[in-house]
Amino acid sequence: MEIEDPRPIPEPVVLPPPKTEPAWDRAAVAEMELALRVRKLDLWYGAKQALFGIDLDVPKNTVMSLIGPSGCGKSTLLRSLNRMNDLIDGVRIQGQVLLGDQDLYDPKVDVIELRKRMGMVFQKSNPFPKSIYENVAYGLRIHGVKDTRVLDETVERSLVGAGLWDEVKDRLKDSALGLSGGQQQRLCIARALAVKPEVILMDEPCSALDPIATGRVEELIFELKKDFTIVIVTHNMQQAARVSDFTGFFWLGKLIEVGLTKQLFTNPTQRTTEDYITGRFG
């Protein structure tokens, strides 16, 4: 005897695929406009090769974090992105770095002009021994801006952008060296913002900051990506997970894996990445 199930079986509810599904993200990423493209980049310090065939795409208005053990070449790559390695003797570079459509290593490139398009924030905040105002206005003055109204506006906009305005607006003429570490770091970010770069490079910007100042800078990064593209080197993996959309893992001068941050930290594709982010490395 065949007995029918007394309950009618409901039609399945058809929902759109979940938006966090990796395949969905990959398709979306493929359509994003790229701010920065690194192609087959090799770099040598004298006879010692420090970067091996780096290929990296950074979509516009996103945050890319670079992680990896000390000495793996993160800072070297970051410095290659705004040609700061030019200042180091014996550096040899092969390959391409494209900012928009421009090849940065094209001999015709004006390096001063380039650095305006690529702001840089360092690990140790490095304000000049000048006033808060002059620190922020510095980049504009180099580019020949003299109009005080333009300077005033830019200084205010940049300090607001860096989340520092309320704390310093009444003492713009005071020395920048009187600011706290966290304030100095945000001042350096304001200095980078002042010239309206397209990309901001940050090399361990929070490593000397307390959790509150770190939190401020991280919130700031989130705000800044509306207008800029950010590449950040960090040793703090939680920070990379919190602030970035994409993460690249470096090891021994090679980019081992790059992908969506949420994918890389929950289910990396490479064993080395897995070992590094779970602290099994060494």
Binding site: D5, T266, E274, I277
Partner: protein, 225 residues
């Protein structure tokens, strides 16, 4: 490969989960005996054991949250703990179903059998096998085994259907057995639900091992296909 103190903590978590699973498997065995052999002693025992499983759930949940909060794990570690958080309640629910079978057994034991005990023996063994295998798949990291358990759920559904039909037949034949048969319909459902929980555990195992969510495949299908 660096030795991590964290690995010891994860091992504790794994051991705790294993202890909970062993307890739950024992409860299923007892539940089978309750129904097939009409034994009061076993019925009382299974009801009592549920308290231990409940306590294990609370303790392991707490340990899991602590590790997530304090270690802020990534990758396999993260997926393992997230998986634990979801497997623990499944085991606890299995315990509840066994306890319910035990309670119902205490009522049914006052009355004559209405169904050949072989039916529930077969159903119970199939279900218990699935639960054992699901936990083993988790502890050994065995993808194939997890997939086999998910497939085995079809057999349990089939048995559930058969028993339901048989009970219905009995009730039609002899309305005096409606009360007993009704209880057994619920017992039948309890066993079937236990198998569903084993399936859920295996889906978590696949997630932990492969990072792929296999639940509700229709969500990933094009509705117009």
């Amino acid at each position: 490969m660096t030795e991590r103190h964290f690995d010891t903590e994860l091992k504790c978590m794994k051991d705790g989960l294993m202890a909970m699973a062993i307890q739950v498997e024992e409860m299923i065995d007892l539940a089978i005996v309750v129904i097939t052999k009409q034994s009061d002693a076993q019925a009382e025992q299974v009801v009592e054991l549920d308290r231990i499983v409940d306590a294990q759930e609370v303790r392991l949940d707490c340990a899991c949250i602590d590790l997530l909060g304090l270690r802020a794990p990534f990758a396999t570690d993260l997926r393992f703990l997230a998986g634990c958080l979801k497997i623990i309640p499944q085991l606890e629910r299995i315990g509840d179903h066994c306890k319910n079978i035990g309670r119902r057994g205490l009522i049914l034991n006052r009355q004559a059998q209405v169904l050949n005990p072989d039916y529930f023996e077969k159903m119970g063994q199939a279900v218990c096998g699935m639960v054992c295998d699901s936990v083993e798949a988790f502890l050994k990291g065995d993808v194939d085994l997890a997939n086999r358990v998910i497939k085995a759920d079809d057999l349990v559904d089939e048995l559930h259907h058969q028993i339901f039909g048989e009970l219905l037949r009995q009730m039609i034949k002899d309305p005096l057995c409606i009360e007993r048969a009704s209880h057994l319909i619920i017992v039948n459902k309890d066993f079937e639900r236990i198998a569903d929980h084993a399936t859920n555990i295996c889906e978590e195992v696949l997630y932990i091992l492969e990072g792929v969510n296999v639940k509700h495949p229709y969500l990933h299908q094009d509705p117009h296909d």
